[in-house]
């Protein structure tokens, strides 16, 4: 007698469930499954609160601890790490209520809000890079926009992670410069269909196939986005004269109106004195 489909299905389910008997957590439901492991919602019995519990292969233990040390407003705080009786490792972290970036964008937020999300993601990435930790799998599904507007970058990758095709740089292995590519892909994803060409150009430059053709780091991408928001020219986009004039006019709108008003008054006074 072989294993029937229903027994096989049952075994695959129960054998994969983490045995939390020796921990303070009580399993509730699976909330996500990725390349590195499975994320469950669980209840912390001691503090009577819900947490997210990520369970991963023991091979990731060292790097999981490294990720757990990252402390930044854009990175989900880790409460505790531990090892399950079967050798798998887990970390308990804040359970974020909100929407993933792909669903957030589907709600058609204004451009300024979209760019704010990109900025927050970039800041979290830049901080992690300064600690020597690349993400390696940045994509909208790994960005959470909380209900108070907070932005979290989740699912930090580890050495050997495969990445996600549309957001993955062509090189192997993936590193900080590959995150620049993924950030570019995220910018492109976050932009509306009628996005200004300068923003699309920033995304395209960050996503260059050649590593040397990209921005040198995440900060450089963020500076470009800021320059766009400040109405300045961006490095990635060569403007026509007309575009330059329009951008100048938009950026100095108040000043130009004041000058026009001043010229109007002078013109008026010139005529009054002439008569």
């Amino acid at each position: 007698m072989g294993l029937s489909d229903s027994v096989l299905r049952h075994l695959r389910e129960v054998v994969d469930l983490p045995d939390l008997g020796d921990t303070r957590y009580e399993l509730q439901e699976e909330i996500g499954r990725g390349g590195l492991g499975v994320v469950y919602a669980a209840r912390d019995r001691q503090l009577d609160r819900r947490v997210a519990l990520k369970v991963m292969d023991a091979a990731w233990a060292g790097e999981a601890r490294l990720i757990a040390r990252l402390e930044h407003p854009g990175i989900v705080p880790v409460y505790e790490t531990g090892t399950l009786p079967d050798g798998r490792v887990f970390y308990a972290m804040k359970l974020v209520a909100g929407a993933r970036a792909d669903r957030y964008v589907a709600g058609n937020p204004p451009l300024g809000e979209r760019l704010r999300v990109v900025q927050r993601v970039g800041e979290a990435l830049a901080y992690a890079h300064s600690c020597g930790v690349p993400h390696r799998d940045l994509k909208p599904q790994n960005v959470m926009v909380g209900r108070f507007g907070e932005v979290y970058v989740m699912d930090w990758g580890v050495e050997g992670v495969a990445g996600t095709p549309a957001f993955r740089a062509p090189e192997t292995p993936l590193d900080e410069r590959s995150d620049v590519y993924a950030l570019g892909a995220l910018v492109r994803f976050m932009l509306p269909a009628d996005a200004p060409p300068a923003l699309s150009a920033i995304a395209a430059k960050a996503m260059s196939n050649g590593r040397e053709d990209r921005y040198p780091d995440v900060d450089a991408v963020l500076r470009e986005v800021e320059r766009f928001q400040d109405g300045l020219a961006v490095e990635a986009y060569v403007e026509s004269t007309w575009q330059r004039v329009r951008r100048f006019a938009r950026r100095n709108e108040v000043l130009l109106w004041l000058l026009a008003a001043y010229a109007g008054v002078r013109f008026f006074l010139f005529f009054v004195r002439s008569f």
Partner: protein, 235 residues
């Protein structure tokens, strides 16, 4: 208990060790490598051949046996390049090539001798009427066989370690095909506390996971492929 009369020529599974070396080590001269591969892959290959090439039971058995025999002779492991594909995919593509060649040769012979090629009727074709592709059947049988082997390992371990009660509870609950008994009923049947049923099941599942991993380690090229296969197994 977990064998299958149709495919019972896959070798004696008890010979395979539960702690296994990787395929790379196997290629370097570990003698049980092909037997270990055959123990896990014989049935998936057989089912794949039946579904893909519409062979009946005996013809599919012959082709499967022929494939593993040819693989032994043709430096099968040495040709495997983990950077191009996982071992499971490599083996399936090799089977496909082998069976297609055999199938073609068979047809040529039949045409040459004036014998009309008789198509099998749909009822004799494995997977007929199923929406699953041959590749899906191959993957599903791979999972099934992997668990079946690990369960055999678990039973052997329980017997040698004096964990009869753990095995009995696990078999009665997790291997039940149909309605599962309640923990309370199991506790009464085996004369143990209900918490013991919970603990026995937790232990058996944990061990089974470890044994599945061991079996997989024996047929993958290294840690990276092992992790990818684990992900596919549970995903």
């Amino acid at each position: 208990m977990w064998g299958d009369a149709d495919t019972a020529i896959g070798g004696n599974r008890d010979r395979f060790p539960s702690t296994q070396v990787s395929l790379i080590e196997a290629a370097a001269g570990e003698p049980l490598a092909m037997e270990r591969v055959a123990a896990l892959y014989w049935k998936p290959v057989y089912k794949f051949i039946r579904a893909k090439f519409r062979k009946d039971n005996e013809a599919a058995k012959d082709l499967t046996q022929g494939f593993f025999a040819a693989a032994l002779e043709r430096e099968f492991f040495q040709r495997f390049d983990p950077s191009k594909a996982g071992f499971r995919t490599y083996l399936r593509l090799a089977v496909e090539r082998f069976a297609a060649n055999q199938h073609e040769a068979e047809n040529r012979q039949k045409r040459g001798s004036g014998v009309k090629f008789a198509e099998l009727d749909a009822a004799s074709v494995a997977g007929a009427g199923s929406a699953e592709s041959p590749e899906e059947i191959y993957s599903q049988e791979w999972r099934r066989q992997l668990f079946a082997l690990a369960i055999e390992d678990l039973r052997a371990e329980c017997e040698s370690a004096g964990k009869r009660a753990e095995w009995d509870v696990f078999e009665a609950y997790d291997l039940a095909d149909g309605e599962r008994p309640s923990y309370a009923a199991l506790a009464r049947r085996h004369g143990v506390a209900e918490t013991s049923v919970t603990n026995y099941l937790a232990w058996a599942r944990r061990r089974l996971r470890g044994l599945v991993t061991d079996r997989l380690r024996g047929v993958t090229s290294g840690e990276r492929e092992l992790r990818e296969e684990m992900r596919r197994l549970w995903g």
